[in-house]
Symmetry: C2
Subunit: 406 residues, 2 copies
């Protein structure tokens, strides 16, 4: 497997574009993105578990119920959620696209992200679509433009692609993501679009995606708020020419590995670009009785506001790690817990067997002043492991969210 | 029922004191508090559900297993938690007190609050106890001094007392509390000490307290972090001379009402004094199918970081209220939800039947700029109701917790 350029355009037969059509007030911000496959593709998606669901999710779910899609159309600046006419608008977006390019409305994955509860005016989209379609292309810039088109408070573009081999054929897979605030996915996730030219049956694509997100996007939290519009969608158009993957085995394992490379990378990008964040926090739990326990503990730690504020201050306040483990709901033996902090600057052990040990505050400060921190927790009770990703809690998170709508 | 002065000294036979003994570096901060009853009292307490428990809680639980206590000894500045010698130190505090005043060590409720994982040196307590005991008194200043002695990042003293009548006898009940950060009690709560001269059997006192906290302290959240040292303890010394309450009925109901007045007041004080908070947020949910649903929804809303940041910015971003209801886990019909914001400045309806309605942003800004905000949610599906208390998320929360230990 090898990292390559191209994002969602890395796989054969996919093109992309991103433009400013006028949904966002700031004219320098792209707000409409399109990903298109030359041929209809196997498609799978997972969605937020929030009972309040964005209208585009309902429409997308219906459209890919047959396991086929050919395009992703996504706007930023407005979530099209909690609006009386939401479904109608989302369906209109799909039929408008179909008037501009060869795609059936029910082969369109439609998505929206931005403020909740404000009507989405479809006019700028209708006016912008001819330009969007004319800008379609397969260069790396095209993927970058699409990645920008789905951003809201994100400060960096999130994009990755790799090449891998299935049954002797070179395949490609790439993805773009947006996500910065309201990030605490549950069984589903923020907006992520992945394309691949590997040939894989829709049911195996669904299986791969559902299994992967349990250890990737569902282990990310920026602020504990599960969004109404989370979605990860994958399209696999089979143009790599490999023998289609129709069951488990070596080829499926290879595909899962490539998919996981894409998703872990995007998870880290999303967590590290959490609203206001100055640091990416990775929490690695080992020694758990079960994987489930390890996951519960890892997620509880990266979700704790107190722990996150301590990370912002580079304060080795490990008591807050113990506290978050203790209230996580996981069944752990506190007297066996070890905790360390690690980063490029080194490693410092701060707690052994549930009690504090002497450590150098100066070293701890150095370790915690890096951009990427790993919190290592050993529960001393088994071989279950898990990793979760989060970020620090900063003044800027409050600033960004104190007046998001203006 | 009538609000009176005196706090924990309002009830007959109780005295209190608070001094600086040297656990906290700042000499102007009291760090040791004592509440004492002339005679042994019925006692009940509830504790944190965090698996990581402060050593004093383990010792207190043992001491009041017989339903009797005569004194509360509490230090601030150090939580005596996650220390290898924690139990030993907590027990030493009780035996030291017993050397200075007429109380059996196992009739002492002992508590600690402050940083986790640093050894608690018992020397300043040993040296300070004679002064602490000599300062015992029953004036309102004595209660205030004790209330100050248990404070950490609290910015205001939390104290209340009322008089009420049981079986024709005038009774008194009063309480003090500390709590500002790491506030998200679950089946137990922050540090609260309540005294009453009502005569009530230990099992009825336990029943009253366990029932009350479900709708009071367990409905408060400052930051979603359930502390390791939460405790609410009540002592009832019977000196009011009422016929002892030994079962349910009118007298018990009267006592429950008085207790609830104390606890609701202290809940509002704790939430309003949340670390860095500029506003008290009350979330009142009605129209739920069950009380449990109403509680889940109310608590989810006041716990949402995004909602709390919006309240800080006086931004009527009601989509975040809907979002928090949606991911709360409660089974609700989104299309029936109404939301309004209310304060001294008026009321503004922002959402009806799960969709936005037109409202004046100027009025909303005025309503949300007050110190106390009520979020009114009607789920339109039944008669279940609940109230939860929280606060806004501010720059100062991050500042306070970015470097708590220094």
């Amino acid at each position: 497997m090898e990292i390559i350029e191209g994002g969602v355009c890395a796989a054969k037969g996919f093109s992309a574009a991103g433009i400013h059509c006028g949904i966002r007030k700031n004219k320098t911000k792209r707000d409409l993105a399109l990903i298109y496959s030359e041929v209809p593709a196997s498609a799978a998606a997972v969605y937020t578990t929030n009972l309040v669901k964005g209208a585009p999710l309902t429409v997308t779910k219906k459209h890919i119920s047959d396991g086929v899609a050919q395009a992703v159309l996504c706007n930023s600046g407005n979530a099209n959620t909690c609006n009386a006419d939401g479904i109608e608008v989302a369906e209109k977006m799909c039929s408008l696209l179909s008037e501009n390019i060869a795609v059936k409305p029910n082969d369109v994955i439609v998505a929206s992200t931005g403020v909740i509860g404000q009507k989405l005016d479809v006019t700028p989209i209708a006016v912008g679509l001819p330009l969007l379609v004319s800008e379609l292309g397969s260069s790396k810039e095209n993927s970058l433009n699409a990645a920008e088109g789905i951003m809201t408070t994100d400060t960096v573009v999130k994009e990755i692609s790799v090449k891998f081999t299935v049954g002797g054929k070179e395949c490609h897979i790439g993805g773009i993501a947006k996500g910065s605030g309201m990030i605490h996915p549950n069984m589903a996730t923020m907006l992520v679009f992945i394309t691949t030219d590997a040939a894989i049956a829709p049911e195996m694509l669904r299986k791969a995606l559902s299994s992967d997100i349990q250890n990737t996007f569902n282990m990310v939290s920026v602020d504990g708020d599960t969004s109404t519009n989370d979605m990860v969608a994958v399209m696999a158009n089979g143009m790599a020419g490999n023998e289609p993957i129709t069951g488990e085995g070596e080829d499926f394992a290879e595909f899962m590995k490539a998919l996981n490379t894409i998703t872990v990378y995007l998870c880290r990008k999303i967590a590290g670009d959490g609203e206001g964040a100055t640091k990416l926090i990775e929490c690695s739990v080992s020694g758990a009785e079960t994987k489930e326990t390890a996951k519960t503990v890892a997620k509880s730690v990266i979700t704790s506001s107190l722990f996150k504020a301590a990370m912002f201050g580079a304060d080795a306040n490990w008591g807050r790690v113990l506290c978050a483990i203790g209230y996580s709901g996981a069944d752990v033996d506190v007297s066996k817990i070890d905790v360390s902090f690690e980063s490029k600057a080194g490693r410092v052990d701060v707690c052994r067997n549930g009690a504090g040990i002497d450590f150098s505050e100066a070293t701890a400060k150095e370790v915690l002043s890096e951009r990427e921190i790993n919190v290592l927790i050993n529960l001393g009770s088994g071989s279950g492991e898990a990793v979760a990703w989060g970020c620090d809690l900063t003044y800027d998170y409050v600033k960004i969210n104190g007046d998001y709508r203006t």
